[in-house]
C-alpha cells in the first residue's frame, strides 16, 4: 500500500471539513476545562491550510506537511498552534523528498510528530493531553506491524486504541495546559486536544484503510 502526495492533500481537505464540522463540539469540551476556543482555533488553522492547498500541489509529502505545520503555527495560536504545528513540521521532516510512502514511513512520521509534541509541550502520557490519544495509536500500530498483523486489522486496532486513549482522559486529572488550573474539577471531562487529535488520527487511518482495500 502506497500513499501519494495527492492522498495527503485529500486527507488535509477532509481534515479541514472534519474540524469545521466539529468546531462547536471541540469548543464545548474546551468550555468545561479550558477557555472555550479549541474548536474555533483548530477550524481557523485548517481553513487556512485548506485555502493554501492549491499551492502545495505537486510538492513532495515532506514539503506539504512542513507547510501545513507552518500554517498551523501562525494561525492556530494558543497551545495547540505550537503543538500541532511542530507535529506536522516534524512529520514533514521525516518524510522529506518522498512522493510515495508506505506503512513504515507512516509509522516513522507519526513517531516524529509525537516526539515533536513531547519536546515542545513537555507533557507525558497520563497528563490528560493529545498525547493520551496519539501515543496509544502509535504503540498499537507499531505492535501490529511487527507482528505481521493484517494491515486493515492493524489500522482498525490503532483507531480503537486512539479512541480508548481519548476516552481515558475523562477521569484524568489535568497536569498540563489550562485545564490544570482547575485541579480536581478537570476530572470527568474529556480533553479537547485528545479529542481533536483523535478526529485527525481516525480520519487518517480510515483513508489509509480505504486505499489499502481498494488496492
Amino acid at each position: 500500500m502506497k500513499l501519494t502526495n495527492k492522498d495527503v492533500l485529500e486527507y488535509l481537505k477532509k481534515a479541514a471539513e472534519l474540524l469545521n464540522e466539529n468546531r462547536e463540539y471541540l469548543t464545548e469540551l474546551d468550555s468545561a476545562i479550558g477557555d472555550a476556543d479549541h474548536g474555533i482555533n483548530m477550524d481557523r488553522g485548517f481553513q487556512t491550510v485548506l485555502k493554501n492547498l492549491p499551492t502545495l500541489e505537486g510538492k513532495d509529502i515532506g514539503a506539504i506537511l512542513k507547510a501545513v505545520g507552518m500554517y498551523l503555527v501562525s494561525t492556530v495560536g494558543g497551545a495547540s498552534g505550537p503543538l500541532y504545528g511542530t507535529a506536522f513540521i516534524q512529520a514533514g521532516t521525516a518524510l522529506a523528498g518522498k512522493f510515495e510512502i508506505d506503512e513504515q514511513d507512516i509509522l516513522k512520521a507519526m513517531q516524529a510528530a509525537l516526539d515533536g509534541i513531547i519536546m515542545r509541550g513537555k507533557a507525558e502520557r497520563g497528563d490528560k493531553t493529545m498525547i493520551d490519544t496519539i501515543a496509544p495509536a502509535i504503540e498499537s500500530l507499531k505492535k501490529s506491524l511487527s507482528n505481521g498483523t493484517d494491515f486493515v486489522e492493524a489500522l482498525e486496532e490503532a483507531t480503537r486504541a486512539a479512541e480508548e486513549g481519548m476516552k481515558s482522559t475523562i477521569p484524568m486529572l489535568a497536569k498540563k495546559g489550562r485545564a490544570s488550573y482547575l485541579g480536581e474539577r478537570s476530572i470527568g471531562h474529556q480533553d479537547p486536544g485528545a479529542t481533536s487529535s483523535y478526529l485527525l488520527i481516525k480520519l487518517m487511518l480510515e483513508l489509509i484503510k480505504e486505499k489499502q482495500i481498494n488496492n
Binding site: 469548543t27 477557555d35 481557523r44 503555527v73 495560536g77 498552534g81 505550537p82 488550573y181
Partner: protein
Amino acid sequence: MLAPLLIYLLVFFKEVKMKKLINKPEDVVNESLEGLALAFPELIKVNFNPNFVYRADAPVKNKVAVISGGGSGHEPMHVGFVGKGMLDAACPGQVFTSPTPDQMYEAAKKVNSGKGILFIVKNYSGDIMNFEMAADLLKGEGVEVQSVIIDDDVAVQNSLYTQGRRGVGTTVLAEKIVGAAAEKGYPLDKLTELAKRVNANGRSMGMALTPCTVPMAGKPTFELAEDEMEIGIGIHGEPGRERMKLKPADEVTEILAEAIINDLPFKAGDEVLAFVNSMGGTPDSELFIVYRKLHKILESKGIKIARKLIGRYITSLEMQGVSITLLRLDEEMKSLWDEPVLTPGLRWGI
C-alpha cells in the same frame, strides 16, 4: 403547534445570548487595533499581518526592547501599555488565544536597537511555547533574547504536577517597572534580574461575579447562578478553583487578601504596592469598596501601602469581578514605579 413556537424561541434566545458592541465577531481584534491606532497615533503604531503594536518612535536607541503579548481580551493589557517607559511592542493574539511566533518575531525586528530583547511572558502553555518558538527564531539570527515568566496567581497550587501558577496582575506591574528600567538604559541581564525579582515578590488572586463571552464562541465561558461567585478565576474566562455563594464585598476582599498575604508571606513592616483591578465589568465604586477593606486589612497587619493602582488594567472582556495583587517593594522598584510613563493605558510624570 407548540413545538415550532418552542423551537423559534430557542433559536431566538440562542442568537440573543451575546450582546456586545461589535460588528462581526471575526473582526473584533483587527477593528479594535485599528481604533487604537487612530486614537493614539502620537504614541503607537499598529502592524497588521502579523499583528503587533509598537512605539511610534521605535526603535529607540541604546535601550533593551521590552516586548510582551498574549491573547486579546485583557485590554488595556498589553497593547495599551506600549509607549515610553513601558513596552516597546505588544503582540495581541485572537481573543484569549496566545499570539503566534511570527508576531513576536516581526515585532522584535521592528523595535530591536541592538541592545537585546526581553520577553515578558505570562505562565500559560500557549504563551510559553509561542514565545519560545519566537525566541528560537530570533536567536537563530543572532538577536539576544531573554525571557521572564510571570506566575503570580495564588489560586493555583504551584506544583511539579501542574502547569504551575498563572501569570496575572503582577504582569502589569512588571511591565511598568521593567519598562522604566529599560528606559533608563538598564542592560539586558539587569533587566531580567529585576523582572524576576518583581515576579518573585508579587502575588495575586481574582474572583468573578459573572462569566464573559468570547465573540467567536457566542456564549458565556461558564455559567454562574444569580447567587454564586467564582473564586480563583483566571483572566480567560476559564472557571476557577472554587464556586461559592455570593458574599458581601468585605468578606470577598478578606478571602482574596488572606490567600495572597499568607502565600508570600507578606509580613508586618513590608512595604507594598496594592493593586485592585476590575476584571472589566466591575464599576469603580465597587473597586473602591474593595480597596477600603484591603486598606484596613493591610493596616491591621502592619503592612504599609507605599503605592497603589486601582482601576481596569488586566481584564477578561466584560467579566464582572475583581483581582487583587500585592507587590512587596524595595527602593529600586518604588523609584522605577514613579518614573514617567506615556502609553494609552497608563500615563503619569509626562
